[in-house]
């Protein structure tokens, strides 16, 4: 149990700019707790379900190895130490908050975060070409555009986009598979 928690804590604390790459390195390459195929499968489920991808991966693996206690250990290891460090950094950052170049740097980092989000959206968009005739791909693109437009509406947009677009896309894929 402690080993699971420590393993995920080490992963999180190495994870500057994202934990996922390190999770592959630690779980598959170093410790060999998972095969490459198992990793891909678990990662796929983590992405399929809402929430942080690596958080879901930790829950699935902890559960698989040691049930509820394992899942709890994995999640606590992944999130607690890194969050405590972030709190300490927040104390430091708020002392510097009055400084104009710090505020300016923070805004620039949020702009970079927007770029990262946009890039991951575009990367996901590439996958809609997979296993589809041109008409199916066009319909998928229409659903993506629809979800994007609705999601831009402040506050209510995101839930409506997810709740409306998911069944539409599901019906489309069911019909296409026939």
């Amino acid at each position: 149990m402690a080993e699971i928690a420590l393993c995920f804590a080490a992963m999180a604390l190495r994870g500057f700019g994202g934990v996922l790459g390190h999770s592959y390195d630690i779980l598959v390459v170093r410790r060999q707790w998972l095969s490459e195929r198992e990793f891909a499968e678990v990662y796929g489920i983590g992405q399929l379900v809402p929430g942080g991808n690596i958080i879901n991966v930790a829950a699935i693996l902890g559960d698989r190895w040691a049930g509820l206690a394992g899942a709890t250990a994995a999640l606590a290891g992944l999130t607690l130490p890194s969050t405590l460090i972030a709190v300490a950094l927040l104390g430091l950052a708020s002392k510097l908050a009055g400084e104009p170049h710090v505020a300016s740097a923070e805004r620039a980092v949020v702009a970079a975060a927007a770029g990262i989000v946009l890039a991951s959206g575009l990367r996901t968009l590439r996958t809609i070409r997979e296993a589809g005739r041109p008409r199916l791909v066009a319909a998928r693109a229409a659903i993506a555009a629809f979800a994007c437009a609705i999601a831009c509406v402040p506050f209510v947009g995101l839930p409506i986009a997810v709740i409306v677009a998911t069944p539409l896309a599901f019906l489309l894929e069911r019909r296409a598979a026939r």
Binding site: F16, V49, G52, A86, A108, I128, A147, F155
Partner: protein
Amino acid sequence: MISNLLALGIGFGLLSMLAVGGANTLIPIVHTYVTARGWLDDATFAQIVALAQIAPGPNFMFIPLVGWIVAGPLGLLVSMVAFIVPPAILAVAAARALIRHGERPAVAALRRALRPVASGVILGAGLVLAYGYARTRLVDILIVVAVTVLVLRSKASVLWWIGAAAAIGALEAAF
């Protein structure tokens, strides 16, 4: 205090189920939620989002940081558990079910169906974020475009682009 904890727990619990494609998709909606409640101002929210990107760990950390600012250690814990647990239960259930029913066509269809939805929603979140924080300064707009292209084209860790953006932002204020 109690009402704040309830609002954190219920709010982040519900929002967690909408985090399609990862926690960053939620940045705009969490921004609206916390500013509408008067918990944080725009500058503080930008600060914790920036911190969650820079600090080591999963980038959902802006959510427990909101809890910390609103209600201290208890707020941090409530926000964290509320955001982590609902999707984690779903993920574990999905993983167990997929071992049994993974080959069913409905499961395959659901997997394919979520891709265009996720990509649309993530792109929407990115656009809202860019519009909200980057539209007033040319340098921010350039950073959004440059980071988008760099992340797509290069295999280097995103931390390099975040660090470069921070440096450019700091320099921008110096001149």
